[in-house]
């Protein structure tokens, strides 16, 4: 049994960043390779998958921990890994999640050998600004990359595919090739309606979710062919299995995680690992044994109840998470925690862009909590949910125990928290003696 640690991961970095501005750069110079992973959704899981692959390839790996993806989180990881004399183990590869707005600074301190771009979607507009602002920052960041860096690009997202033309070095394109992926529901929120450069509208022969899919424009631009691709995707409750195609051949694998976005996370990790020279067999066996990061499809056992925590921080990410809860006939006990801290997004209007309507028939009972519990409850009323069993503002512990007490033993509670609520949940569970399901099974 493993108990869950406390939340804060950025403190050592903050201290060292203040003490010595060049600390990160000096340590980064000793790395044999660096992978940066950026994008709106999928950073944490893709980075964790890549770190696992690299360890399976017998490399020493430094990896910034869950969500600590600003500059100081990166510095903290480097400092923690270093000896007292300030040296890193030989043949060390760093895997850094890079906050999409902090990419330039992180790349300057830790120049990437490979940089993964997962997707670019609407997220916390009060913090990041408009999508165009992020796209512009990425273009600037590319200018500071070493010329021999390789980009790993999710070409199903037209905004990511367009980075290839802005980069003179090499790249590995990844995407989904399966023609039978179910299309996105009508009216689902979508951001990139047209190409920011040419103003051409993106059209789709098949759209998977948000602006991801098989896209083209009337002017003749189209989704390029991926070099690392997923095909024959079979989504089941125990996990998703698919064929993973590499330039050197294909393998079949099963992930202990659900949903199309899990496939994208695996593709991102596989593309980056391929760029770093890891053989396909190592990649696939490491992916198959991947365990979820907290809040990313992690299953826990708490007071004899199974608990699944699905982080929901923006419309596209949450719509995808909800889709994993909507098998025919499936109904869940839900706890939805909506905070409005800076890390959550102070603006909670995004909950109106989440397709709660399609979740309503799959809801057995619901408790709402967090700073903006009442906003959430109003949104659910509009979506046709059953009346909440409880509405608990602020006190996450109270919301948790109200939610748990309404779930019969051995049944499952699904928790959908925003980021800071997820940290609170983790802390509470640590105290309550929660354990990972696979450790007790």
């Amino acid at each position: 049994m493993r108990s869950l640690g406390s939340g804060g991961t950025a403190l050592p970095g903050l201290v060292v960043e203040r003490l010595h501005d060049g600390a990160a750069g000096a340590l980064a110079g000793q790395l044999s390779a660096t992978a940066l992973i950026t994008g709106t959704n999928g950073k944490t899981t893709s980075a964790a998958m890549l770190a696992r692959i690299l360890r399976a390839d017998d490399r020493a790996v430094i990896h910034n921990r869950s969500g600590s993806n600003l500059m100081r989180g990166v510095t903290a990881s480097l400092v923690e890994a270093a000896s007292l004399l300030g040296t890193l183990p030989r043949r060390t590869t760093a895997v850094f999640e890079a906050d999409e707005a902090a990419l330039s600074a992180i790349a300057a301190a830790a120049p990437p050998s490979v940089a993964v771009f997962t997707n670019l979607m609407r997220d916390q507009l009060d913090r990041y600004g408009e999508i165009e602002t992020i796209a512009r920052r990425w273009t600037e960041a590319l200018g500071g990359f070493p010329g021999d860096a390789t980009l790993a690009l999710n070409i199903d997202d037209p905004l990511i595919a367009s980075l290839e033309s802005q980069w003179s070095g090499s790249s590995v394109r990844y995407g989904i090739e399966d023609p039978d992926v179910p299309p996105a529901p009508e009216g689902e929120i979508m951001d990139a309606v047209w190409d920011p450069e040419t103003q051409d509208e993106f059209r789709y022969t098949r759209r998977y979710f948000a602006q991801l899919g098989r896209w083209h424009t009337d002017a003749g631009a189209r989704r390029p062919v991926p070099q690392v691709a997923a095909d024959q995707i079979d989504n089941a409750e125990q996990g998703v299995s698919f064929t993973l195609r590499f330039p050197a051949g294909e393998r079949t694998l099963s992930l202990p995680a659900e949903g199309l976005y899990s496939v994208y996370n695996a593709l991102a990790a596989a593309a980056a690992a391929t760029a770093l020279g890891v053989p396909p067999d190592t990649i696939c066996s490491a992916l198959e044994s991947h365990q979820a990061a907290f809040g990313r499809q992690e299953d826990l056992l708490v007071n004899q109840r199974r608990v699944r925590v699905l982080l929901g921080k923006n419309p596209s990410g949450l719509n995808q998470a909800l889709r994993t809860l909507q098998a025919p006939g499936e109904r869940h006990h839900l706890l939805i925690l909506l905070n409005d801290g800076v890390a959550d997004g102070v603006d909670v209007s995004w909950i109106w862009d989440v397709d709660w309507e399609s979740q309503a028939p799959h809801c057995r009972s619901v408790v709402v909590g967090g700073d903006r519990a009442a906003d959430m409850a109003l949104r659910l009323e509009y979506a046709g949910f059953p009346a909440p069993r409880a509405e608990v503002t602020r006190d996450t512990g109270e919301a948790l125990s109200r939610a748990l007490s309404g779930v019969p033993e051995h049944e499952q509670l699904v928790i959908l928290p925003t980021y800071t609520a997820m940290l609170e949940v983790r802390q509470r569970f640590g105290r309550m003696g929660a354990s990972r399901l696979w450790d007790v099974a």
Binding site: L125, E130, V346, V348, D353, D371, A374, D375, A377, T393
Partner: protein
């Protein structure tokens, strides 16, 4: 009395101007009409559509990123005269954020580029530059003696010309420009505001006002009175937004209107 009451609600450019949960506004009108036995027909209007405001009772237009606003500009101008006639004929409008700016005289980007509006409101907006802080945060304003709550996030500052009425006065937040204490604009039955959230679900009195004005215009003295609804959830969300606007965290980062 099973008179078939009906209101036609048009949502302008919902694919492009939908930045801040604005789809919640159409849902609020639809739901509050249905609860009173009024059919609310929601019609999305996209670029190039053959649509005129002739048989429309309420027009909603939301916010978008700058590039989306530029995208709709020429289509909106094509409809400018018809929209102005509609408003002179007391047609009801709720224009939020970018939509509010597009319904003004013009918007000057930080690069100096002018985007002409359709001049429903006698107001001009200007972006002071990329290094100047955006107006971001919870807002509380007073409209007809009551609080309206929402969230604002805009780089551009709006200034009302003399004689142009504001929609509300700011208690907490920036409002039009963070200086004159005014929020939004109102001309006849057209309301412009920077408040999103979405604004109508948690400000049910404002939603009902739009519905009542539209019913009055369509049915005159035969218009049905709006029966009270169970608004407990909406009013709790309203109270929570008030609390968020006045929380210590909010004032610590200097968002309070001084």
């Amino acid at each position: 009395m099973s008179a078939n009451w009906r209101l036609n609600v048009a949502v302008l450019y919902p694919e492009l101007l939908n930045l801040y949960g604005d789809r919640g506004n159409a849902r609020a009108l639809e739901r509050r009409c249905q609860a009173r036995g009024i059919d609310a027909e929601i019609t999305p209007v996209v670029i190039g559509d053959h649509w005129s405001p002739d048989d429309t009772d309420i027009i909603l237009v939301g916010g978008g990123q700058d590039r989306e606003q530029r995208r709709v500009q020429s289509d909106l101008h094509r409809r400018g005269a018809a929209l102005r006639d509609y408003i002179e004929d007391d047609g009801v409008v709720l224009a939020v954020c970018g939509g509010f700016q597009l319904f003004g005289q013009h918007y000057r980007g930080w690069d100096g580029e002018i985007m002409e509006g359709i001049a429903i409101f006698d107001a001009v907006a200007a972006h002071p530059g990329p290094s100047i802080q955006r107006c971001v945060g919870n807002v509380v304003a007073i409209w007809e003696g009551e609080t309206v709550v929402g969230f604002e996030n805009h780089g551009g500052r709006t200034y009302l010309n003399e004689g142009q009425q504001a929609f509300a006065s700011v208690v907490s937040g920036f409002g039009n420009n963070g200086g004159d204490g005014l929020e939004g604009a109102r001309r006849r039955n057209a309301f412009g505001t920077y408040l999103h959230g979405a604004v109508l679900p948690k400000n049910p009195r404002l939603a009902d006002r739009l519905i009542a004005l539209a019913l009055q215009r369509r049915y005159g003295s035969d218009a049905p009175a709006l029966s009270p609804l169970d608004d407990r959830a909406a009013l709790r969300a309203h109270a929570e937004a008030l609390r968020a606007a006045f929380s210590p965290a909010e004032s610590a980062i200097g968002r309070r209107f001084a």
